[in-house]
Every structure is written in C-alpha cells, then in structure tokens.
C-alpha cells in the first residue's frame, strides 16, 4: 500500500472530492513529520505512538572488518503499536483493558529514554526506497 492507495481508499470510504482526500492525506503525513522533527511525541489512539528518542554516542563494530568505530549520538524514531492494532493483526478482539496496557507501556517508555538495546538504530532492507 502506498500513499496513492490510501488516498483512493479514503476517497471511496468518505466520499468527498478526490482532491480533498489527497490534500488531507498529504497534510496528515506532513504534519506528523513536522511534529516529530520538533521532537514531539504523537499518540494516535487505536493505532499507536510515535516517539523520538535520543541515543547517546556509542562504539560499534564493522562486522566485516571487526574494526571499532564510534556511532555518533543521534535521535531515532520509534513506533509502538497500540494494543488495539496488535490484536487486530492477530485476528483477536482487543483486550478489555487495552487502554490501561497502553498507558502502562507508555509509562515504561518514559523511564527508558536512554536504553540502547531495545530499539534498532537503523533499518533493515525493508526501509522505504526512494
């Protein structure tokens, strides 16, 4: 699915003009990008949370040569799907206390700002190709 498919689907579902659908879909992702660029967190209920996390510089290793190199400090974007979305992926009904679980996980994230181990720093080959 690409942005064009989302525009098409939104248009079919909501039924306003195609131009309006295209405009809003663009604005959705532009606004999300601007917000994340500022370092703000985004919470979309029923979908998930986007969060920018600060990573400290650390020493990595080139797996081919074994040479140590410094990986500079950086900010990375993480996405945590909501319980509702996770359940939907598995064809289940969302747990009754899904809001509570989401809140708990979010709380855990807050205290986990500098954990280097749990999130990937950069992406696998599935990253969006230009």
């Amino acid at each position: 699915m690409t942005k064009a498919d989302i525009i098409e689907g939104v248009y079919e579902k909501v039924g306003f003009s195609k131009k309006e659908s295209a405009e809003i879909v663009e604005l959705v992702f532009d606004t999300l990008k601007e917000t994340l660029e500022r370092g703000d967190k985004i919470k979309i209920s029923g979908f998930g949370n986007f969060q920018v996390r600060q990573k400290k510089a650390r020493v990595g290793r080139n797996p081919q040569t074994g040479k140590e190199i410094e990986i500079s400090a950086r900010r990375v974007l993480t996405f945590r799907p909501s319980q509702v979305l996770k359940s939907a992926l598995n064809g289940e009904a969302p747990p009754e206390n899904h809001a509570e679980i989401d809140a708990r996980e979010e709380e855990a994230d807050e205290h986990d700002e500098f954990d280097e181990s749990d999130e990937q720093d950069f992406v696998e080959e599935e990253d969006g190709k230009p």
Binding site: M1, I24, G46, P63, F79
Partner: protein
C-alpha cells in the same frame, strides 16, 4: 500530539475544508492503514517510513514470577522503519540544537571521509557504510 490535535492542526492548514470532514478523513487514513496491516500488507510511505507485518514463531516463554514455562503461540508483530527523509530531518533538528545557532549542513561529517565517525545519514546511505 494526539489525534484530535492532529485534526486541529490540519484544520488550521486547510481552512477551506470543514473540520468535520477533516476529522472523518483523518480517521479514514488510520482505518485504511489498520485494514491493510490486518491483511498482512506492507505500507510504504515515501519520506515517512514503512510499516510491515512480521511473523513471530511460537515459542516457550516463562512466567517471570514462578519460572514456569508457558507456551506462547505464533504471532504477527508490526514493524516500523522511518524513511530516509524523516530520519534525516529528525537528526538535523538534533544537530542544530547541539551546535547552537549555526545551521547544520545536510550531511554533517560526510565531507571528511577519513573521520571514522558514522552519522545516521552515512549509516543509512547503505552503499559504502558498513553495517554494524
């Protein structure tokens, strides 16, 4: 920012569209995405990122309290990877904060190839950057 704030923000940028319609459209966007992921479809949003569904095999977990083994069923999990543009924009803002008022170059540190420092852009550029 929450979904309702996102809707308000878009409404401010598109004053010619009634807010009620914007709300319906924004909800439809996330519904569409959820539906596609439910069907196992990958979502590629140029400049923003990719959402994909990955299968996790069944495994034997453990109740951390009792130490008792618990069988966990195979599950589908969601993966998200930020796209290049967004990744760079997020880091550029970060570098701008670090270096004070000076405007950061688009590819900081890339000019001096002898420096054994990887920036996020050099890592993700892929061709010559080693993967760690």
């Amino acid at each position: 920012m929450t979904k309702s704030q996102l809707i308000d923000c878009i409404a401010a940028k598109a004053p010619h569209i009634p807010p009620r319609r914007i709300e319906a459209l924004v909800n439809a966007v996330f519904d569409q995405m959820t539906q596609a992921l439910k069907e196992g479809e990958r979502i590629e949003l140029r400049g923003f990122g990719c959402f994909g569904v990955k299968s996790r095999p069944a495994r034997l977990g453990r109740n951390p309290k009792t130490g008792e083994p618990v069988p966990l069923p195979a599950r589908r999990a969601l993966s998200f990877a930020a796209g290049k543009e967004l990744r760079e924009r997020i880091n550029r803002a970060c570098l701008a904060l670090d270096s004070g008022s000076e405007a950061p170059s688009r590819r900081p540190l890339m000019a001096d190839r002898s420096t054994p420092v990887l920036t996020s852009s050099s890592i993700t550029a892929g061709e010559e950057a080693p993967r760690i």
